[in-house]
Amino acid sequence: MSSDLELPEELVDRPLALVGLTGLNVETNQTHLLIWNSFTSSNRSERPPLHFVLFGVNHAFPLAKPDRTSYEWYIPKGILKRKWMSKHLKQIPGVLVLFYDLEWDDPAWKAKHAECAHLIQTTRMKLMGRGSKLCLVLLQNSPPLPSSEDILAADRAAALCQVCELPPKSLFVLPCRSDHLQGYTLRLESAFYELCQSSYHLSSRAVRSHRDQLNRTNHGYLFVRHQFKIGFYHELKQDVAMAHKHYSQSYAHLLELRITDANVTEVKIVAGYIGYKVWRLSFLLNLPREAIAHFRSHMDFFRLRIGNPLSKFEHHAWLAAQFSTFGSLFDDAIELGLPAIQTQHPGFFYQQSAQQSILRKKACYQDYDALDETVINFLTPLSFGESSQLEFFGQRPWRPSRLSLEPADMKAENDGIAAMLIRERHQGMIVAALTNAVNQFKNHRSPRMKQYLLVQMAEEYCRSENFAEALTLLEPLLWDYRKDFWWMPLTSLLQLGLRCAFLSGRPAEYFTYAVELCSRVTMKSQEEKAQLFDNLIGILQKRIPPPPPDSTAVSLATQLWADQFASLTSGACVTTIVTNTISSFVEVKATFTQKQFAAEDVVELEVHVSYTGPKTIQFTSLHVALNNTAYLPFCQVKDPEELEFEPHQIRHYEFEFAAQSQDIGAELQIVSVSLEMGHDLVAYLRCEGSSSEEFGSSRSEFPSATEKGLSGLFVLNTAEILPRTANVELLIRHDAPALRGECYPLHLELVNREKEDISNVTVTVTTSSTDGRVHDQPKIDGNLSVQLKSEEIATGQTCQWNVFTQMEQPGKHYVTFQVNYEITSEVCNSKCTYKSQYVKTLELETVQPVECEAQFQTIQFQPLRQIPVGEPCVAVMTVTNLSPFPLLLEQGVWKFDPLLTNQPMPNSQLSGLTLQKGEKANDVAVLSLSNGDNRHIRTGSYSLKWKRANQSKVEGYKIPYSASSFDLPEMETWSIPLRIQVKLPAHGYVRESMNMAIIIHNPGTSYVELDVYMSSNDAFMFAGNKQIKIQIYPEDEYELKYNLYPLLSGFVALPPLQLKTTTSAIDQVAEMDQTVLDELVSRYVPTHIYVLPQAKNGNK
């Protein structure tokens, strides 16, 4: 019966209406082949759901049984006939189509049409009793005419129909020479499809008509069968809703049957089949809830209907098949777009399927073990055929087609089932179902459910002795349960792993699992742990551990272990266990005592080991690995006394060593702590990082709540080795503030306050600002930094340097002094050379030293707004000392524009002058503008060389003068149209006449005509022209002479002179602007004069 558990192919396939084609000679007739291909080859999905089969003309269809007139004495022998579905799917067509070559105007029309009628008759005879429809297709070469015009065709068609006894609708014409063959076949197909539907409809009605003749007591099977048939016909018709309805009814009838031990398997099998149809159509009709509910009630109904106690395994197999069938139906529906949720998806059904498969296996083994040896031998050659050859689905081969009400032959029954039990060898159904379930749960966000299933899978692998697979599955699972502290599942998994490791002869895995099982978190008794502990110590002495209880294949495993031990040489490593990832029986914490160690300090390291195993343990050695392996010799323990642990003992170890010079400034890190076990074979327990606490004491409830453990310890995993702190002092002497542009000396003095001599001393001096310069010589050019060196400075001694800085901008500047040196000292009995560094920053205030202000003046030191052309004037430079120090000026150098001619002086007037704070000095240069028009000119620049007066020499260095340069103001030039010269004594006396001459010079190129007015005033009487018109030719001059007689003393106004342009209208006279004339007068002609009083004695 196991073959009936799998769903038959005809049940699973989607039923398609069957259309038989006959009369086509495919092998010899090219046209026929073309027609056949056009029906079968092209894309089916867009066409009516039909299945075409080619029958020969003489094909014999299965004969229909004569209809029963009465069911009164009929008792059915089974529920569903095995061949019925495939018969309707493959052999009995819904429509049979006869192709016949016949033209309307065929000359031999009479004969051919008779032959055709004959063919139809014989075919009809063959399908007698079936609901199949017949149709006739005439293959014609001539193109078709519209039927109304072709009277001959109409007549003959009618005649043909009459002879063949066919309704006119069943006669078709196929113009097979046409290019549009495909189009014609498509239209034929839809016609066939309609005929099929009506044919299947007829068939289903025929089945339904039997119903009245049935009675419930005897014909329960037939109720089921008929409804199933009707459902199937509807499915062929593609009427899903109706099919679903009838299948459901059929299923309901099935549940009404009387179920006995004799027919229970048959009913279950058939229930599974009908159920399959119901669920599938429910999903198709988008009624998933209905499908699930139906399935659940199906399972509830049959769950406990086992039948013969021996056939328990069969029952579980059936249940497993139901679950997996439904699971895959559900899965298919999801693929077609049905949404599933976390709590309702195929995974649950697959899981149940796996569960049932496990039970099946268990039942199978149990019952098999209970069987008698003789029975097994007696039944080994099968005494009956395969169930797949029986007439009905789900029946027993040893009682074929017996009525279910017949009393069962218990002996045969038991023997039969026992024989099947003997044959039953488990196929990998469990793992397959579990794999399906795992995938589903993974898809539906249930990682832990997945883990649980994987646990079951591992258990199954172990049971089926596939230990390697089981171990591979276990490894990640252990972690999953361990990380959330689920110790009970973890213990059970570890035990499973231990078993697999033993049976597959793997010392390394065995050792690892045993170590974890011995830890205090696992739920095992102390005795068991002690036993395990002995086993793992035994492994290190090449003793094979005892087999786990109730295990098979012990001898094989023992052999494997012996081989393994033989291959391991003495001292070989069995395994290295990383204790961070498991909950082992040692906890290790390693810590530096400080966060930072100075370079010269001793680095101290502490290791705490807590042992929680069941028995006293002796480790061979302990190593602490740091990120620099050079320290390894300092960080190990080999003394056996120090490495012996009682249960719950904690030991502390301390290590110290000197840091190596390459680690200075770096970080030391504890990489791992390893404990070595065993002599003959060794195993390492390695704690990576510095703490293996993760699965340890945070859960104090499990075995020992009282234990102190290491939980309170704070761990410093890394320690920084600091560079030495320098012990030198740098003294800087200087005379602040610095002056801008000055070569500013800094006097450095480095004092060695170390206890040892220092060597290779370098001092790097760097300025912070980009326009600052620094130099080790008194020069005003330099770099951004300068390095000073000294080979060695003895302890307590000093070394001195001078550096010179120059700042181009006023403000705050920073100068950094970085002192590097080496020192050799003794730490931990070894001489080490250390580098040290000392940094000092100096803030340097820089100020502006002098201020220079330039002015142009007339020769009379009157300020000038414009430089007159061709007339001498002076440039006056006022130098102010802004610095707090007296400044010594070396010289001021004028540099004029080439247009300005200057009478250079041999020495600057400022040379050698010392200016105190706030004092001013003037430097004067006489110059004249040779020619030019009215325009702006750059007059030039002035540069001043200076230095501090009190600082001519610093420690043997001569400080150079610094130069400051200033631009002279930009000036306008002015070419004067008239030059007026006044000759007048410096002063006069009252009532003593004096001479005044006014010379008016025309420097221009044009003739000038002027009116001159000399007005009188109170202070003077004068003689001379009071009003005169004068003409001056170019380059000529005119002299006016006056005799002045002062009347008053004091600083008195002279008689005012006024020049006016003439009003004469001579064109050639260049007219001069009155304002210009006024300005000229005011500029050249003095307005006042000192007049002294007459001496009292009257004498001069």
Binding site: M299, Q342, T343, F348, Q351, Q352, Q355, R445, S446, P447, R448, M449, Q451, Y452, V455, Y481, D484, F485, W486, W487, M488, P489, S492, R699, S700, E701, F702, A705
Partner: protein, 142 residues
């Protein structure tokens, strides 16, 4: 009838598990562990809905052929799970709510005990007696 009651900590570690039949304890540990999946999913769902006040009772977590699991999450994310035999249909939703309420009260009292560190496995005797009583009463009631 209720066959198992379990407390799961904030970080998904088991705090307490008690079942009627001690031989099934391992199996219930596994089942309890799988329940976390459903609890987490339900919490995510309720967070999505965005209401501040969350219903502590989560209702049916999942049902399989053998068992039905009901869940409850305290505000401190301690999960309480009650597992009920699938064949039992007598226990009603409000009865389960009542059991959860009692368990929640018991847990609250436990946390008030200064000798108990939240997150540690529960060893308090009074607590386990109370859970045992609840288990016994819920199974005898049906």
């Amino acid at each position: 009838m209720a066959v198992c009651i379990g407390f799961i900590g904030k970080e998904n570690s088991p705090l307490f598990l008690r079942c009627i039949n001690p031989s099934q304890e391992l199996q219930f540990h596994y089942i309890m562990h799988t329940c976390i999946d459903f609890v987490e999913e339900k919490i995510i769902q309720s967070n999505k809905s965005g209401s501040d006040v969350r219903e502590l009772y989560l209702g049916l977590l999942y049902s399989s052929e053998e068992v039905k699991a009901y869940g409850f999450v305290t505000n401190t994310k301690v999960k309480i799970v009650i597992i009920i035999d699938s064949t039992n249909s007598l226990l009603r939703d409000n009865e389960i709510r009542a059991i959860f309420r009692k368990l929640h009260n018991a847990y609250t009292e436990l946390v008030c005990n200064p000798f108990y560190t939240p997150g540690d496995p529960i060893t308090a005797k009074s607590f386990s007696i109370l859970v045992d009583e609840l288990l016994a009463s819920s199974s005898s009631s049906s």
